[in-house]
């Protein structure tokens, strides 16, 4: 079963980790347990008081058992959203 991720290689994806963080970056590779290579990635930190803070991180290997959600980033839609005006509660960690 070709993994859905293979279509997104070299594309911009958004990952939500089990500790509630949101990391956006270019998918460079992945493996069977969904370990993921994210290049030129940055973390989006949401808060109710300020706009979305984007923290540049660079090259990441994220472990599959720490990933909750992966989605392809819609570049146009993302460009249109003004992250400075976005206010949101940060996600809580997954509870096992």
């Amino acid at each position: 079963m070709a993994s859905a991720l293979s279509e997104w290689v070299d594309k911009q994806i958004s990952v939500i980790t089990c500790d509630g963080r949101n990391i956006v970056g270019q998918l460079r590779g992945f493996d069977q347990v969904t370990n993921v290579i994210l290049d030129e990635c940055h973390e989006r930190v949401f808060s109710m008081e300020a706009g979305v803070e984007q923290v540049v991180h660079g090259l990441y290997i994220i472990r599959g058992d720490n990933i909750a959600v992966i989605g392809e980033l819609d570049a146009e839609l993302d460009a249109k959203t003004d992250l400075d005006t976005v206010r949101a509660e940060p996600l809580k960690p997954v509870v096992h």
Partner: protein
């Protein structure tokens, strides 16, 4: 490209590893295996809340206790070099990598300010995830 082959290529390079308990480890990668078990040397350990720091000569980290690894950007170019067939090695695609100085890197993003909350049983690892032990 496989994450574990990228990791192997990164041997000898500095990297940052955050564990599931929230501590981060900055050090040089000495060795890694197929379970992502890792040994680092010249390590600085930062506590979960970013308020305490330790110097450690060397440490063994178990793969399944890792959240993520941050490795220097150049490593990925080294791996692509190896993978690229010889003929088009010269016309290396130069996507605007913006590899220059990093802009407003404020480090650990949301890592600062402990996540707190009792982890309780922590990662309740339910033996069902991996390939099945016994015949079913």
């Amino acid at each position: 490209m496989f994450p574990l082959s990228l990791l192997t290529t990164a041997k000898g390079n500095p990297m940052l590893i955050e564990l599931k308990n929230g501590d981060t480890y900055n050090g040089r990668l000495v060795n890694a295996d197929s379970w992502m078990n890792i040994s680092l040397q010249g390590v600085i350990c930062t506590s979960k809340d970013g308020d305490r720091f330790w110097n450690i000569a060397e440490c063994y980290i178990r793969g399944n206790s890792i959240k993520y690894l941050r490795i220097p950007d150049e490593i990925i170019d080294m791996v692509q070099e190896e993978e690229m067939p010889v003929k088009d090695k010269n016309k290396k695609s130069f996507s605007h990598r913006g590899r220059g100085g990093r802009v407003n890197t404020t480090g650990r993003g949301r890592g600062r300010g402990g996540r707190g909350g009792r982890r309780g049983e922590g990662r309740g690892n339910d033996g069902r995830g991996g390939p099945r032990g016994g015949a079913r």
